[in-house]
């Protein structure tokens, strides 16, 4: 079996605020294989973005990583000094966000911004960097790269801006791309273009992609494996088809049942009762038990651990009901 490219072990992130300490991430474990598209899915406030930012040690103030290890190429990133992290960001691990416009500097041309990133990590001349940038854009299927490079960010459409962000992310040859809701702000036809592009990159360049999204449809259509996050914990993970076609955790089941489906038109949707916890008050036992119809005393007192759901051993879920008689 190949070594994972990235392994997150027992990650905890806390935000100290005036209202109290927010437990944003509560012991996340996950592994991303080389060349894999890995989905991290959950609703707002589940800790998926914070997990993504933790990998690059970019958790914003007042957040702090309080425990855990993040292994990348045999090294624990959490023990690395800031200077070493700057080298890793962009060079080895790159990140793109929901709103490309806020990540691009409005007063410089796109070409200027891409070449600057290239020159920060590689000792090449301005011309070489420019050619390399144009090559990357061309590689991403952007028509007329020279024109795009001479444009300012606001002159480009949202989809084109996101492509430029991907080009910047990949121009230095990063092995891992963290994509935090990369298509949420885009129209569906443009979303389809970007997803297609990310998929092609993975296949052609062998880039691993951590796809952070709230959209189960996006996960279903693009990811090899997926982890479902709830209240800062992975509650279910495994091959995408297994998790989405045969969900084992009541939360995953609830999410899937809440989706409007063409097969059940005009029938009322199944909502999950209650709302996502705020992360300040500690929930004893299973974090999902207050909203779970199947919860019993065990669920209220003991936190379930990730358990294999089927014989393959790849599909895991953190629920006390697994293994008990069905029904």
């Amino acid at each position: 079996m190949t070594e994972p490219l990235l392994r997150i072990e027992d990650l905890y992130v806390r935000f100290r605020t005036d209202e109290g300490t927010i437990r944003a991430v509560n012991g996340v474990n996950l592994e991303i294989m080389p060349g894999e598209m890995f989905g991290l899915v959950g609703e707002s406030g589940c800790g998926k973005s914070v997990t993504g930012l933790s990998i690059l040690k970019l958790v914003p103030h007042p957040g702090r990583i309080t425990r855990g290890k993040i292994w990348f190429r045999g090294e624990n990133l959490l023990e690395k000094p800031e200077s070493a992290m700057r080298e890793i960001r962009g060079r080895h691990i790159a990140m793109i966000f929901q709103d490309p416009m806020s990540s691009l500097n409005p007063v410089f041309t796109v070409g200027h911004q891409i070449t600057r990133v290239i020159r920060r990590h590689h000792h090449v001349s301005r011309r070489e960097a420019w050619e390399r940038a144009a090559g990357t854009l061309d590689d991403l299927g952007i028509p007329d790269p020279e024109r795009v490079m001479r444009s300012y960010p606001y002159e480009l459409s949202g989809g084109m801006q996101q492509r430029v962000m991907i080009a910047i992310a990949l121009s230095c040859g990063a092995e891992l791309l963290i994509a935090d809701e990369p298509t949420t702000a885009l129209d569906v036809t443009i979303q389809a273009q970007i997803l297609e592009l990310l998929n092609a990159l993975r296949i052609r360049r062998g880039v691993s992609i951590l796809m952070i999204t709230h959209d189960l449809g996006v996960v279903a259509e693009t990811c090899d494996r997926v982890a479902v996050l709830y209240a800062g914990r992975v509650v279910e993970s495994g091959p995408t088809d297994a998790v989405l076609q045969a969900p084992a955790h009541p939360y995953t089941q609830g999410l899937l049942n809440a989706l409007p489906r063409p097969s059940a038109r005009r029938k009322s949707l199944q909502a999950i009762p209650g709302s996502v916890p705020g992360g300040i008050e500690e929930i004893p036992g299973c974090p999902f038990h207050p909203r779970c119809a199947l919860a019993d005393d065990l669920c209220r007192s003991k936190t379930p651990i990730m358990t294999p759901v089927d014989s393959s051993g790849a599909h895991l879920a953190a629920c006390h009901l697994i293994g008990k008689s069905e029904g």
Partner: protein
């Protein structure tokens, strides 16, 4: 006669960049015709800039159409003025996408929900409060929420407040402008259910605007698909979803990510992005991105014509 009817509805926004610059005309809506029956939900889908929000706002005259006609229960909405228009507003309401921007952050829930009642009725004091409580209960909230401010609520609860406000005057017609787009899936489900229950209970007519085809097909009886200010396909929701006829509808459906493998379609990836509505392409607006475009699509605009009980504007179906 239909309950709500738009005839040749057109809205051009004129944007002036300065005293000497030539004004730009953005054609947000061009010659839209539609009918909505009583107690029906008409879904409107399309990408950003297709004019779906402009359509909704023109129908209830939140913005003035440039030309065309809107008939509401037989009454010519655009011919009304002053008090006549104001009293017609009792019967048509709107719910916006983001409750945190559609609810005044400095007003309590009671004042927010009471506002339309104060504007149109003589209800005051405890009578008013009682009616507000009744409305809150109707949307699944209660009197403990009366004196809170919008920011103290989650997105789903805040959207319920907006719905309660829309219901206050017992309207017949509600424009729902992306009412669930800012919400998480599990919360979206509760709001969609609420809207459906209220419709059944109160006999409401909806115009449901969304970019999300799966929500629209779920809630709508009929669907109108818009592209660059025009309706390109309109008909029964189920039929459109299962056998889209217009190439744009087909592309839109195939691009919508689906969880179930059986509803997934072969991806049609459209080239480029939506053209600028200030300068739309000639002929069929979609020809620049259409995988099935023919030479004369650039010259001749296809009219919206009826084919098997459905309206389609495409030269392929002639």
């Amino acid at each position: 006669m239909a309950f709500v009817e738009a005839r040749d509805l057109t809205k051009h926004f004129v944007i002036r960049r300065g005293w000497f610059a030539r004004p730009t005309v953005v054609r947000a809506l061009t010659g839209v015709n539609l009918e909505i029956e009583r107690r029906e939900t008409l879904g409107v889908v399309g990408e950003s800039g297709c004019g779906k929000s402009t359509l909704g706002r023109c129908l209830i005259r939140l913005i003035e159409p440039t030309s065309g006609q809107v008939l509401f229960d037989g009454e010519d909405v655009l011919a009304l003025h002053g008090e006549e228009l104001r009293s017609l507003r009792r019967r048509m309401q709107i719910v916006f996408q983001n409750p945190f921007s559609s609810l005044n952050p400095r007003m309590t829930v009671r004042d927010i929900v009471a506002e339309p009642l104060k504007a149109h009725t003589n209800m005051r004091g405890s009578e008013l409060t009682a009616r507000v409580i009744e409305l809150l209960r109707q949307v699944g909230l209660n009197e403990s929420h009366l004196y809170r401010y919008p920011r103290e609520f989650s997105g789903g609860q805040a959207q319920r407040i907006a719905v309660a406000r829309a219901l206050a005057l017992n309207p017949d017609f509600i424009v729902l402008d992306e009412p669930t787009s800012a919400l998480d899936v599990s919360v979206q489900a509760t709001v969609v259910n609420l809207l459906e229950e209220l419709q059944a209970e109160l006999g409401l007519t909806y115009l449901f605007i969304s970019h999300d085809l799966s929500v629209v097909q779920h809630i709508s009886n009929r669907i109108a698909v818009m592209y660059l200010g025009e309706i390109v396909e309109m008909g029964n929701a189920e039929e459109i979803f299962h056998s889209p006829m217009h190439p744009y509808t087909q592309a839109l459906l195939s691009a919508t990510p689906m969880v179930d493998p059986e509803t997934r379609r072969e991806r049609i990836i459209l080239e480029g992005s939506v053209p600028n509505p200030a300068n739309p392409p000639s002929g069929c607006h979609f020809h620049t991105r259409c995988p099935a475009a023919m030479a004369f699509c650039a010259d001749e605009k296809p009219p919206l014509r009826e084919i098997n009980g459905r309206l389609v504007a495409c030269h392929l179906h002639e």
